[in-house]
Amino acid sequence: MSGLGSWAARRLLLGGAQTVAVVVLVFALTEALPGDAAVALAGDQPDPARIAAIREALDLDRPAYERLADWATGLLHADFGHSLTSGRPVSSYISDAFGPTLLLAGLTVALLVPVGVGLGVLAARYEGRFVDRLISSVTLGVYAVPEFAFGVLLVTVFALRLDWLPPTAVGYGTDLLGHPAALVLPVLVLLSRPVCSLSRLVRAGMIDALASPYVAHARRYGIPGARVRYAHALPNAMAPAAQQLARTVDWLLCGVIVVEALFVIPGLGTVLMNAVAERDVPVVQGLAVVFGVITVVLNLGADLVAHRFAPRAEVAA
């Protein structure tokens, strides 16, 4: 396991470098966008004198590298800086919005693993038969529907027509646990596509594994079918699935924008969208750091899992 330890350390270092690169890149890209916070703030009153005044007040008249250096120095002291538009600390933006997004992502993952793996195993077990064909065609079909359309469809049917669930989480703020019914539709929308991709990966991995020589060998020893499936074949199928899962969690944390907008959930996606539109660079950068760190940590975790389940797969960094 000491090899694993140094491998993990190398991965962490690499991850740190990746995060720094993301932050610099985000800064450069935000600088390259047409207009800056002053122009965005001025909106339809682009009085040049006012834009200049805002620019000065926001320190935007200083060179880009100075602003980046200042911000990075603050970061070393865990100071994310202040929003350009409201003056509130960026850390409060992140901490306020983190809860709802984490809750959505957590619930989705908690359901995603059993449902995705279960469907995949089921389909693999009945490969080529009716159950497999049903699961495969439904997952393919659902996967093809964009989240937004799926969300609108679910809201129309279950909230507005049948009146079973609330159509949005408007007015609940971050207290989503107090209104669990409001979580059902968003989580369903978030689940829809990852379940499909995960179950198809597990199915493919299982079918490969079940056809492999070591499974055939295990069968020859008379080991019961269930044990062969779950103890021998499934772990092999889990390696690619774990990595897919890590990518899904990234996507859940960074890409729930559509769901948050549709259901009015004040999470990280909403904050990011507003911040980009407002050219609120410190907030965008703060989020980039958070997303960067999460992505690095999750992928590291996924690789460790893959390492553990299928060491022979020689998972590369």
């Binding site: 006012r50 409201s86 007015g171 549709l262």
Partner: protein, 525 residues
Amino acid sequence: MREYPGLRRRGFLAAASGVGALALVGCGSSDNDSGSDAGSANDGKPRRGGRLRAAFAGGGASETLDPHLANLFADVARAKALFDKLADYGDDLSAQPRLASGWEPNAGLDRWNVTLRKADFHDGKPVTAEDVLFSYRRIADPEKAFRAKASLEPIDLKASRAVDERTVEFVLKRPTAEFPNVLAAFGAYIVPDATSDADFDKKPVGSGPFRFVSFAPGRSAVFRRNEAYWDGAPHLDELEFVVANEESARVNALLGGQVEYAHELNPTTARAHEGKGQIEIVRLRNSAMQAFAMKTDRPPFDDKRVREAFFLIADRQELIDGALSGAGVVGNDLFGKGYEYYADGLPQREQDLDRARSLLKKAGAEKLKVTLDTSAVAAGFTEAAGIFRDQAAKAGVTVEVKMGSKDSYWADILDSGTLCCYRSGAMPIESHISQRLLTDSTTNATKWHHKDFDALYHQAQSTKDEKDRAAVFDRMQRRLYAEGGFLVWGFADWIIGTARTVKGVERTAPANSLDWARFDKVWLA
């Protein structure tokens, strides 16, 4: 550590995606009883009690309750509930007294005595002349960039003083006949003397119809009835503002009974639900000017015959039907249909392609090619550009549509390009002229620079007699109608959805006016 100025993105007048206005009037509009109740007929007797939840598009986590920062519709609606201005705009965008009970100019129109009514802040202290001066000085702070700063520019705040507790003497830098418009300016709210920046988020104190209860930026703001409100206590017990940026989310929340009031809906949504009985659709006419702006200082539009040809190319009804889904009325190349001083005596401009072609020929501009700048910054912009391109093709003009960035659009079109999509929310005609059509106007998108036109404006501002002043404004508008740079093709409706239990919603006030997004006069049946 960092000074932050006012104003968030998505300007108020051009706010996010719509156009328009709403007004709520219950019994009696503003503070005179002669107000028309035409819009809210059959609403029955007001009932006291209940909480109304209103969904607006908002500014996310960077929202504040500082009324001087108000820039979005949601900000203004919240500011209006907590605070008062000295005056506000009536349905025709003329200034109506609010905290000011009256104003009296001197003969030269450069010194105004403004009398305050008896009103109290939420902490029980009376509203005094010192509070007014403090508020205006805060807005005009040269270090900051509050939106109303430009509007207050005519006031010499150093020389202005409190005559007594309830009288302010404003000294102006030049004669300003329309000074009451300044008192009604967007964001010119009165806050208590010595309020600090930090007070607004924690415990804002105003003199408005509702008191502060709680606020979570980008999510919700809860206010409670102010029993001691000088204009009569609101009917509602509580008012909650919630933020939902997606139009579909606002509609769904309204249909699902999660809110009772949804601001800013699409024409297609309105059509789908109008008359179905599930929700009420309120259309506020004449709320947002829709136009193309031609830069009059550069070819091809430096030739007034080309500008006139373009006026004649537009099929206005087709633009309304196509770009606004029919939710609007045609324009006549002038700002402010239905507002005070609007020149309504001019003939309605119609499409006349033959005359347009012959004008272009005379100007030597056959086979003309023009780039039309547009962007998804406002509803209908890209559609309008496409429709106009096709209309122009029939007159032999090639229009090339160029999509610009949404977030810097208004700054981009100010100086560059020759032709662009343009729009504006409601404001007095005088403000439109002073902000956009004078040589030294800061946002002169048509580059309309005419010394004689400036002189007319200053003449109007130093004319005390209202009739004479109206005549001057009429002259200025005739000039713009004949050869101006704004091709005003329509005025869009502002669309609001309410639950059927919501009563007393005024239907005649354009957006930005007093009775729009005003919740102290509505009630829940």
